[in-house]
């Protein structure tokens, strides 16, 4: 539970890390956009008339904002958990950056992300009890393989929801809210402060990534968001609450994997789950072999514009976040001894 007593500086530290991450992404992104365009680091936006070129990736900027905040926070608190969260995020960023530059096999990201989980174990950022809504379980040994699984799974889950303009950044902003509340209740001050740069850095970036995108986040950006989300959920004793908040993305990953039946990159799948009509609205594919995804299911009732699909995904994120808030209440009731 957060310690709000006078003198522990949580409010001041919170303002410093939030402002730093927000301002770094907000101010540096336009410069990054110009730089990427000058370098020719652009990709086509297939869902717009004329397929305009959009610079990619925004991952380095998001990471810059987060790392700057975490270093300041570490210098203020000297807590190694903050260093562990930061290193996990940095390793995941490197994995994503490699994937941004080269088309790698589908197994690369999940395997490489296991390395990103290592700092959490080495620096002992995890606890020994897993909060399971109705109580907690003492699992000192089992926690280690669990961490090695959580970071790749959450990283790839967030990566899989990066489907249309602004969706992944908006989705992360919405679903980080219940996670922050959960960390405030079941975690501690330092992990809560370490989680703030994810929210505020992503808010800073959202203005440029929302429809119509001025920059794409790329795998480096999505893996920064996903791995950091997983890391703060672990360090903040909020793993199950995090899973519940991410349910639309979990569902998307599950539907894709269970229909394709192997771990494969989206761009390597021949059949597309959606088709673009002449009016640039998207429609669900009628092909039996096309992967089943969240967007395809949203489009099952008829075509929609890109902006409308994003709006429906945000609705689902608000809904799953509400379920996460209810779960926090249940967990608080049981962990406080039913008082």
């Amino acid at each position: 539970m957060l310690d709000l007593s006078f003198g522990n500086n949580i409010l001041i530290y919170g303002v410093i890390v939030s402002t730093t991450s927000f301002l770094v992404t907000l101010i540096a992104t336009p410069k990054m956009i110009s730089s990427l365009i000058a370098q020719g680091s652009v990709v086509q936006d297939y869902h717009k008339p004329g397929r305009p070129n959009v610079p990619r990736p925004a991952g380095p900027i998001l990471l810059g904002g987060i790392v700057a905040s975490e270093i300041i926070l570490y210098l203020l608190t000297l807590n190694m958990t903050i260093m562990a969260i930061m290193l996990t995020t940095v390793i995941a960023f490197v994995v994503g950056l490699i994937d941004d530059r080269k088309v790698l096999p589908g197994w690369f990201k999940p395997i490489a992300l296991i390395a990103a989980a290592m700092p959490l174990i080495i620096f002992g950022a995890h606890g020994t009890h897993l909060n399971l809504v109705f109580g907690n379980a003492f699992i000192p040994l089992l926690y280690i393989p669990l961490i090695l699984a959580i970071i790749p799974i959450v990283g790839n889950t967030i990566n899989s929801i990066d489907v249309l303009n602004g969706v992944v950044t908006g989705f992360v902003i919405i679903t980080t809210m219940p996670l922050l509340l959960s960390i405030a209740i079941f975690g501690d001050n330092d992990v809560f402060l370490a989680a703030l740069p994810l929210l505020f850095g992503t808010i800073g970036l959202y203005g440029y990534h929302k429809f119509p995108s001025k920059i794409f986040v790329g795998d480096s950006g999505t893996l920064v968001m996903g791995s950091m989300y997983g890391a703060i959920a672990i360090a903040g004793n909020s793993e199950i609450i995090g899973v519940i908040a991410l349910l639309p993305a979990v569902m998307n990953s599950f539907l894709f994997l269970s229909s394709v039946k192997k771990i494969v990159e989206h761009r390597q799948v021949k059949e597309r789950p959606t088709i673009i009509r002449a009016d640039f609205k998207l429609a669900a594919s009628k092909e039996k072999n096309a992967p089943i995804t969240l967007v395809r299911l949203i489009l099952a009732d008829g075509p929609l514009s890109e902006r409308e699909i994003g709006y429906y995904i945000f609705k689902l994120a608000v809904f799953s976040s509400s379920l996460a808030f209810i779960s926090i209440l249940i967990q608080y009731y049981f962990l406080s001894g039913g008082r």
Partner: protein, 78 residues
């Protein structure tokens, strides 16, 4: 509403997660006391608990797959 079915799907997933966590807390966590009256080695108990948890997760995935098939048939006629 367009996403009503998806909201139902997400709610079903949430209920399944809550059911599993309740089962793990009430039956699997205290299994050494319930079945063996604290008579087994801690490592063996942990191994047993982990194995049961994995079986339950496999069952969850199987359940989700069944749910998905029903939903797909209704929505996409696949």
């Amino acid at each position: 509403m367009r996403v009503t079915g998806l909201l139902g799907f997400i709610t079903a997933m949430w209920v399944m997660i809550l059911a599993i966590t309740a089962f793990l807390i009430n039956f699997i966590a205290p299994i050494d006391f319930i079945l063996f009256r604290n008579g087994l080695d801690r490592f063996v108990i942990s191994l047993m608990q982990a194995s049961i948890a994995i079986v339950i997760i496999v069952m969850l995935v199987w359940g989700l797959n069944k749910m998905k098939e029903i939903y797909m048939q209704k929505k996409l006629q696949l």
